[in-house]
């Protein structure tokens, strides 16, 4: 038994069994992380490079910690102090790194499809840590894993994703992942931030936030990504917060208790209020904790693929 893919480029390429294998493996790693010695010797023979062509704190730290907990050697690469600024191409950069006997590549890039492009040109297993507005597969896996931990099997569960669906790789990966696990998904946000024809992905659209929250068991609240908006898509942050900010008053009016998630970093007072982010209903910090176990599982399960052809 092992994963059906050599790389983790997106949730789109995974099947349900792959996702369940990742969850079962993550269960074991979660237990390892609760022991006094939070490390296993499994990947002593493996070196992983973390290539971050775009800013990240949580994801980079989470991957790095996952690699260290597996006893892998790690090297880090941030674009700001690299030869990329001297005009080196992506393939050259990566092949130079792989020439130093590196086995796996974790990559974040602002261009959608960059990890796929790389996977066509190098031998190592690639793990996508977020590419442009395409996918962020490990985030979707840890989100679904966190829901499963609180509510059990995802089949038939109702999940609402709120906010900037247009620019969000987290939204796209979550939609693929939740659909594969049998959950139902609604997206909610201002019409300018919801792509046309998104129903083709098997989701409902509900522009009224209150109705979308009344329907769901879990709300995954996304960050407003001003850096990806090349022209304004809503008038002011204050207006956005008024119509699509999740606050305690609204949650209390639902007549039921829903779980609140957020992939971080949080814009407090914009898409989510502090009285929600820090409430008992919020599982935001569980998501962060589970992220390490999920990434350990993905790295471990893909580590066996490195000597195989495509």
């Amino acid at each position: 038994m092992s994963l059906s893919v050599k790389h983790l480029l997106g949730i789109k390429e995974l099947n349900r069994e792959d996702i369940e294998q990742i969850f079962l493996t993550a269960d074991n790693f979660k237990q390892v992380l609760q022991r006094p010695i939070k490390r296993v010797p499994t990947l002593r023979d493996t070196t992983v490079v973390n290539l971050f062509f775009e800013n990240s704190t949580r994801t980079r730290l989470s991957f790095e910690l996952a690699e260290k907990r597996l006893s892998a050697d790690t090297i880090n690469f941030a674009v700001s102090n690299s030869s990329v600024s001297k005009g080196e191409t992506l393939i050259d950069t990566v092949n130079n790194i792989l020439a130093m006997k590196v086995d796996m590549v974790v990559m974040r890039h602002s261009a959608s499809g960059a990890p796929w492009f790389l996977s066509q040109h190098v031998d190592a297993s690639i793990i996508n840590a977020g590419d442009g507005t395409n996918e962020h597969p490990t985030q979707a896996l840890l989100d679904a894993y966190s829901i499963r931990e609180k509510l059990g099997d995802l089949k038939g569960k109702h999940i609402t994703i709120v906010g900037d669906i247009m620019h969000s790789r987290v939204a796209l990966s979550n939609i693929f992942c939740l659909n594969k696990l049998g959950a139902e998904v609604t997206v909610s946000g201002p019409p300018t931030l919801i792509p046309k024809h998104i129903e083709a992905l098997g989701v409902r659209v509900e522009y009224n936030l209150k109705k979308a929250l009344e329907w769901c068991d879990v709300a995954n609240v996304l960050r407003i990504q001003l850096e990806r908006q090349h022209k304004p898509l809503f008038s002011t942050l204050r207006e956005y917060a008024l119509y699509y900010g999740v606050n305690k008053q609204m949650l209390d009016s639902l007549g039921k208790e829903i779980l609140i998630m957020h992939p971080g970093p949080i814009n407090r007072g914009v898409e989510i209020n502090s009285d929600v982010a820090d409430s008992k209903q919020s599982i935001i910090l569980d998501q962060v904790e589970n992220g390490v176990a999920i990434r350990m599982a993905v790295i471990y399960l893909l580590s066996g693929k490195r000597d195989m052809g495509d």
Partner: protein
């Protein structure tokens, strides 16, 4: 009898069928009808992680007591090369420092050892060659108790 200092740990996946039975038997003869009993998965401690083609999905580890300064009895179905037991000892020591560790197996395939590891308690010792396989069936799972030597 007092087994307060003793803990039983079955090695996943196939050792637990034996350790389940041993733990139950020991419980029945102890003073307060209890014994610390756990299960240990050794997947992440194997020495051949990247030498076999398929990466293994682990089974559950469940050790809900401290092994520090205890007498731990590891239990597996078949002792062959000794490599599983080496991995199990490394895994066990990441939970604490036992006072001593003993090994119980149902079948000991002696003359097949690749590491200096010997059992303390043995059901049956058999002579085999490396190309043969020993398969143990358990009533709880396979509907029969049987040990088969396959050429």
């Amino acid at each position: 009898m007092n087994f307060k200092e003793t803990a039983i740990i079955g090695i996943q996946p196939r050792g637990v069928w034996l350790s389940d039975r041993i733990a139950q038997m020991v419980k029945n003869i102890t003073a307060n009808k209890r014994i610390d009993y756990g299960k240990l998965d050794i997947t992440f401690y194997r020495d051949d992680v990247h030498q076999t083609r398929d990466i293994q999905v682990p089974s559950q580890t469940d050790i809900s007591f401290s092994v520090q300064d205890r007498n731990v009895i590891l239990i597996d179905d078949v002792l062959h090369t000794g490599r599983t037991i080496r991995a199990a000892m490394d895994a066990l020591i990441d939970f604490g420092r036992p006072r001593n560790v003993e090994l119980m197996v149902l079948i000991d395939r002696h003359f097949s050892r690749e590491l200096p590891i010997q059992p303390d308690y043995v059901g049956q010792t058999i002579d085999t060659i490396i190309t043969q396989k020993v398969k143990v069936y358990w009533a709880e799972k396979d509907n029969k108790d049987e040990v088969v030597l396959i050429d």
